[in-house]
């Protein structure tokens, strides 16, 4: 009975109900997408900082000159890590730094390298730093020392003045089999300090350092963007909530006359309140479901547009969004509903 009445009442006022529904849908969509974006923003932003390469360095300590290359495995449990071995050798009459690299392992740390030619030399080949290439007038395919240049690498850093070779080759030339000068690793920025202490405890004869500039700038930017997003999200949600409340309040407020009639023909306050509550509740559920669907789609689209990563479905936020939208809609109706008792049929019907 109440359901039929409510459905009928909504249909009779479909224009007004439609407006309230639209406002609620938009608000719920906004809430879903902002909450979804916020929930995932730290992971996404930190992912973007991966491009900076290593943020942790393991170097020999005390009297040691080198590290066992196997220690890279310990570092690897915190993220991509690669060993480096340096050796100075006279090449074509000039001292040059040979850098031994594990090309497979270094790949995730070397996103910013610009390489013309191939990135991974095979046996008998090397990568030449940009400045080395300039100095010896090398091009891809030319020879330096006993190697053929597979690619020319430009980083703007130390690699520009080095010849990059597979690490085993450098180790053999230097007579330092199984050794590394340092191990560079990329650990999760939010766990950097922990990774540092744990590694330092596991490798007591090594010195474990965080690259301060990388770790701290990442943290500063991520926290600030997250903070801005949080404040703006809260602000937007509170304001849209107020607007929705206002909208729902208007629905009840406009129907004082009808309520007056219902009271005049003997409707109990509680029954009338239930009728209105069902109407509002139906609108709210419909609006928040529609809004959630829309918001989910927006979140996915945003995640893809900005970060080129698919966002995980924010299903866990569905109950939250539903509950909040229902609460907002009901809060909007509550105030005029409470005033039901004060509606005097005679006064209202006279049109005052």
């Amino acid at each position: 009975m109440i359901l039929r009445l409510a459905a009928r009442a909504l249909w009779e006022r479909r224009q007004r109900a439609g407006l309230a529904l639209a406002a609620l849908t938009v608000a719920a969509a906004l809430a879903t997408s902002l909450v979804g974006l916020y929930a995932d923003i730290e992971r996404k932003l930190r992912g973007q900082f991966r491009g900076y390469g290593a943020n942790l360095v393991v170097a020999p300590a005390g009297d040691r000159r080198t590290l066992p290359v196997d220690w890279v495995v310990a570092a690897e449990s915190y993220g991509p890590a690669a060993p480096w071995l340096y050796w100075v050798e006279t090449v074509e009459g000039e001292p040059v730094v040979l850098a031994g690299v594990d090309f497979r392992r270094v790949e995730p740390l070397a996103g910013y390298w610009q390489v013309s030619g191939r990135r991974r030399p095979v046996a008998g080949e090397c990568l030449a730093g940009e400045r080395v290439a300039e100095r010896f007038r090398l091009r891809v395919g030319s020879r330096i020392g006993s190697w053929q240049v597979a690619g020319i690498v430009s980083t703007g850093g130390a690699e520009d003045s080095q010849i990059l070779l597979p690490i085993e080759q450098v180790a053999r030339r230097a007579g330092l089999a199984g050794a590394a000068s340092l191990i560079a690793a990329r650990v999760d920025g939010s766990q950097a300090e922990r990774a540092r202490w744990e590694l330092a405890a596991r490798l007591p004869q090594a010195e474990v350092r965080l690259l301060r500039a990388v770790v701290e700038s990442e943290a500063a930017v991520v926290l600030k963007i997250r903070g801005t997003l949080l404040l703006l999200t809260l602000l937007t949600l509170v304001i849209t909530g107020l607007c929705v409340m206002n909208n729902f309040g208007a629905i009840v407020h406009q129907r004082r006359k009808e309520i007056g009639i219902l009271k005049a023909i003997g409707g109990a306050d509680r029954r009338i309140a239930a009728l209105l509550g069902v109407e509002v509740g139906a609108l709210a559920v419909a609006g928040s479901l529609a809004g959630f669907g829309l918001g989910w789609w927006i979140t996915r689209w945003l995640g893809w547009e900005i970060f080129r990563q698919p966002a995980p479905p924010p299903l866990e936020s569905l109950p939250l969004v539903l509950a909040v939208t229902l609460l907002v809609a009901l809060a909007g109706t509550a105030a005029p509903l409470l005033r039901l008792r004060s509606i005097e049929p005679a006064v209202t019907l006279r049109g005052e």
Binding site: R16, Y52, R135, G156, R212, T236, L242, F307
Partner: protein, 419 residues
């Protein structure tokens, strides 16, 4: 007559109208706050990202290969090339002087300390030069930490013998703050121990003029690190400037791409080559682009919501006043007049709400800016005006459609329903 109609209509049922104005004001407040915070987020993030350190390295064009491992030089200083120190401040003479936030010249000399081979690097820590604010490694690398104290080198002082020891070197050799250290036959005071996580930890840092004296290279520097605020590279930035049309070339020259800043530094110091430090430059550009995009999309979402909120508030108002419209029609008012009356009312409500919202939004944006970035807001005076205009437009658009349908209604049934 018309003015009186509007005035009377506005005076009637003020509560309803206030609610409408409040809805418009709330929506405009979101719009203003979001826009004000997001408009300059790029600049702010750009400044934050500068704490990564230099993104340009200026070296002599003919410099020999560096034979350096983890910050330690393995080549005698004699066969290196140099830039005159007097040329260094010219970096600030470029068109993009305001984008160059900091720079620091370096001159290294190989030394031995406690049986360890290392490099004594002379640099500017925070040096006053010319008219600009002081600059040096402290400005360039705000994440560097020093235990003890920095070397205060605002003014050159060639007789001072003090240094900072890199933390890794200090641990290895056992150097502590306040120690006396013999380097190249001179006694130095260890002012502090520097930790950066990078290769500097294997070095000794001292005043530039001290290193120049000890290396016998007075007035010369080996390289300059430069930190510049840049615009992320786009497709246009990757074009070869030599093959641009004059108009394109002007545009390229007048955009703070890293490439054009490097080019202008080379114009100022012809003997030098400026190269991007890709690790910093490349990622900086990418992250900036992404954060701008993120914020633009979020603000677009907030904007659309604000517009819809205003639209729905106005539409509700018109719907409520259908019986009023019917009465006006019944007494013979023309549709044009009624439409104009409602439009003027909607416009006024939009303007009032927009103005209130703009003020509230600016206040909110200011506090967000202080909370998150600890810096004052750079606000464009155009923004509030744009917000008010947009609020008026949204209010008019919101009342237009229900207005049209209300004017089409038959008078009698509406009046009967109202009675």
């Amino acid at each position: 007559m018309f003015v009186r109609l509007v005035r009377q209509s506005l005076a009637r049922s003020p509560r309803r109208k206030l609610i409408t104005v409040a809805a418009v004001a709330l929506a405009s407040a979101i719009a203003t706050a979001v826009f004000a915070v997001l408009l300059d987020i790029g600049d702010r993030v750009s400044r934050e990202l500068r704490s990564f350190g230099a993104n340009l390295l200026v070296r002599p064009k003919a410099a020999a290969l560096a034979v350096e491992i983890a910050g330690v030089d393995y080549r005698p200083v004699s066969d290196a090339e140099f830039i005159p120190e007097t040329d260094v401040p010219k970096i600030k003479n470029t068109f993009w002087q305001h984008n160059i936030t900091a720079f620091a010249p370096f001159l290294g000399a190989p030394v031995e300390v406690g049986g360890q081979r290392t490099t004594l690097e002379g640099t500017w820590f925070r040096r006053r030069y010319g008219a600009g604010p002081p600059t040096g490694v402290r400005e360039l690398n705000p994440t560097w930490r020093v235990e003890g104290g920095w070397i205060e080198d605002l003014q050159p002082d060639s007789s001072a013998r003090e240094l900072l020891a890199g933390a890794a070197l200090a641990r290895r050799v056992g150097i502590r703050v306040g120690d006396r250290l013999k380097v190249l036959g001179q006694e130095f005071l260890v002012r502090g121990v520097l930790s950066t996580g990078g290769d500097e930890e294997n070095q000794l840092l001292t005043r530039l003029e001290t290193a120049q004296q000890l290396a016998g290279r007075s007035g010369q520097v080996a390289r300059v690190q430069v930190g510049a605020l840049i615009k992320p590279d786009d497709d246009f930035a990757r074009k070869d400037p030599a093959r641009m049309t004059p108009a394109e070339y002007d545009r390229w020259y007048c955009t703070p791409y890293l490439g054009s800043i490097a080019f202008q530094i080379q114009e100022q110091i012809p003997a030098a080559a400026a190269r991007p430090i890709r690790r910093v430059a490349q990622n900086e550009g990418r992250i900036l682009r992404q954060i701008r995009l993120l914020m633009m999309l979020v603000s677009a979402a907030a904007m659309v919501t604000a517009a819809l909120m205003i639209w729905s508030a106005m539409a509700t108002t018109v719907l409520e006043r259908r019986s009023e419209i019917a009465v006006m029609k019944a007494v013979g008012a023309q549709n044009g007049i009624i439409g104009a009356l409602f439009a003027v009312e909607a416009g006024l409500q939009g303007a009032a709400g927009g103005a209130l919202g703009a003020v509230a939004g600016v206040l909110v944006a200011r506090s967000v800016s202080l909370q998150v970035f600890q810096s004052a807001l750079q606000l464009s005076p155009v923004l509030p005006a744009v917000v008010i205009l947009a609020a008026v437009a949204a209010a008019l658009a919101g009342s237009a459609a229900p207005m049209r349908s209300a004017l089409r209604l038959e008078v009698a049934p509406v009046l009967k329903e109202a009675a």
